[in-house]
């Protein structure tokens, strides 16, 4: 693991105060999977009747735990459920041994936590291609179940970190039918981040009740405009997983409630943006707003082309208002663009329009703007009403340092 000696300059000031979510208890432990002197396993146990939904990496080489989770989703939600996550080893590209490790772990969790094995969801994050020492995890299960607590969510967030420089959490409360419903989520991820989920593990819990099939549909829909709109380095992990659990402990069914949907989206976007804020080596948080495209899908193609361009990302790192590279990225994206209808702004500064630099543009203004830590690059294609927003970070020496050394 790279020596992470400092916290990202883009990190939130502190971990948020997360409320108790009725029906969920957490524990974490130091199993020594790979790291020494820190926790590396988290267990969450969910009361019977909890609806569980999930979205996963679309990688063709996904890891064994991902395949296992995908097979289990959508099953009967009557029994209790559990989520077990380890850091330090991704159990990815480990052949039949990887599947055996998942089977060993899920069987042991089922036994120790008294949960149906078909409701034990696991995830592993860390090095690819090395056998997971699952016996070290299994050996900690008694300790974990003995320590389960409804206030231990922050420790759980810390146990799943790899190259993350800060633990990630988000919270929302919303009234549904006159009752307060809480949503709390934790996540990890900082490199190998790109749409279709990247090396990111996210667990969101709510005490609302929700129909399980509807919860799955809602999660898939909201993922498109949150986690699938962030990118650090365009690389996609073999292990990304997002699970959403609705325990129903608040005594109200939120199925179809618009306020709940908005609150859930806020939590998802908050965690997604925290992942970008912890992008490996990041020093700038960048929002790329694309409007005027032929469709929302084409706007996303342009936004990702800009956000993933190494030349755009290094210009941002160098605080250079190099809008020519934005033009280049739009040109190469493959989506429709007309050079002479395009306009580009950095923050409120109109940089280019009608195929050329804006007559009012002053390079000094844009250069001053680029010194900020939070930047907006806005592009209007002038072609239609398609829009998308993408969040990314800059590409710095820090990224090279972390990734030329770290075996992930």
């Amino acid at each position: 693991m790279a020596k992470i000696t400092h916290v990202s300059p883009l990190a939130p000031e502190h971990f948020p105060s997360l409320p108790v979510i009725g029906g969920v208890r957490f524990a974490s432990a130091a199993a020594g999977v790979r790291y020494q002197g820190r926790t590396d396993v988290m267990l969450a146990v969910l009361d019977p009747g909890t609806a569980v939904a999930g979205v996963f990496t679309k990688s063709a080489t996904r890891a064994a735990p991902v395949l296992d989770c995908q097979a289990k989703l959508g099953g009967d939600s009557a029994g209790a459920a559990a989520i077990l996550v380890n850091s330090g080893n991704a159990n990815a590209f480990t052949g039949h041994y990887g599947q055996s490790s998942v089977a060993e772990i899920t069987a042991a969790v089922a036994r120790v936590a008294d949960v149906p094995q078909g409701r034990v969801f696991t995830a592993s994050t860390g090095v690819i291609g090395e056998p997971l020492p699952h016996e070290r995890i299994v050996a900690k299960l008694d300790e974990l179940t003995g320590a389960l607590s409804d206030t231990a969510i922050e420790d759980a967030a810390r146990a799943i970190m790899t190259t993350d420089t800060f633990p990630k959490g988000a919270v929302a409360e919303v009234e549904v039918d006159g009752k307060t419903v809480r949503i709390a989520g934790i996540g990890k991820g900082s490199g190998m981040i790109a749409p279709d989920m990247a090396t990111m593990l996210v667990y969101i819990f709510t005490d609302a009740g929700y129909d399980q099939a509807a919860l799955q549909a809602l999660l898939s829909k909201l993922t498109e405009t949150t986690f699938n709109c962030i990118t650090v380095d365009s690389d996609t992990s073999t292990s990304d997983s997002l699970l959403l659990a609705a325990t129903g402990a608040a005594g109200v069914d939120a199925t179809g409630d618009a306020g709940f949907e908005a609150a859930l989206k806020a939590v998802m976007l908050d965690i997604a943006q925290q992942v970008v804020r912890d992008g490996e080596g990041a020093t700038k948080f960048v929002e790329v707003r694309v409007t005027g495209a032929l469709s929302d899908a084409e706007a996303k193609v342009h936004g990702l082309a800009i956000a993933n361009s190494p030349l755009v990302k290094t210009a941002i790192a160098g605080e250079d208002p190099n809008w020519g590279r934005v033009v280049m990225a739009i040109g190469k994206s493959g989506a429709a663009a007309d050079r002479d209808k395009l306009s580009i702004s950095f923050g409120d500064i109109l940089v280019a329009e009608k195929g050329w630099v804006s007559p009012d543009y002053k390079e000094a203004d844009a250069a001053a703007y680029m010194k900020g830590q939070e930047l907006v690059i806005a592009v209007d294609l002038g072609l239609g009403s398609g829009a998308a927003t993408i969040w990314t970070c800059d590409l710095t020496h820090g990224y090279i340092e972390i990734n030329a050394d770290y075996r992930s």
Copy 2:
């Protein structure tokens, strides 16, 4: 311009000795477009009857000179022709002013060099979005035409450099119908390099005769497996241009000759690989060989996913045989892959097969291999007979240094 104080460690030992190509004369000059103390304009004048073919960037925001060249290709080849290229300013995203600059330059070249304006091809490379001071170029045309020489091709190669650390040239000779035919090419390019041509300018000359329409078809075909199979940073320039001129001075028509095609491909591949060898910040030259894919096109998708992955490229920079990242890149590419049929080799070292690390694999062997400057990453998908080879370089601090400072 970034201060380039050293030549790429991957550069050839010296510029090749290029033969005189009958029917072509070269000159270069210091017009002060942007750089001081160096040449920045090259002129090539081609005898009447020269067939000219070209391929260009597919960017939707291509520069004015590219649009002008594309409009002129395929025209009558009876008259003389000229190629004028400047470095320091790309004349890209310069609106109507950009088109005026091209018109001014091509009109002046036509007048001074006595060439039809419809046969004057130009290109510009350098900063985007600033007006091209075309009058500085026009002012040098008398000097340029007065200096035309059939041995000045190396100076021409130097005049078109931007962040290049060495001039690029390649040569081949081949017998056609008992006569010797020569092919000589020059090129520039080191960043913003990706398939569909990238920031790359290449000019290839032969004294063979060739039917112009057939020459265009041949050039387009060979570009697919040469220039469109290299990538430095996945970014695509607004200005890339490759022109091929066949003067016929050797007195033999090479149309359809297989030996000529092979020699031309060798020259194109040589220049393409030199561009990668001058990749910004590159310290390793990497050949990615993909076999066993469902089709050649799918093999290329996999090869580019590997070659463009920042995590693969930084691992190579760190001399880390991190085959897990190769698995990741294959998984995210979107082309078909089966984890359990995949095999991966670094050079002759079989690293992974059947969904896991090879039983004979010794990390120490692969780590020693990665210390080399010329690396081969071979992937067999085990699915079909599709194959492709991609050439790329590593991603280092040098890339960040050059691109966080240089306004291109």
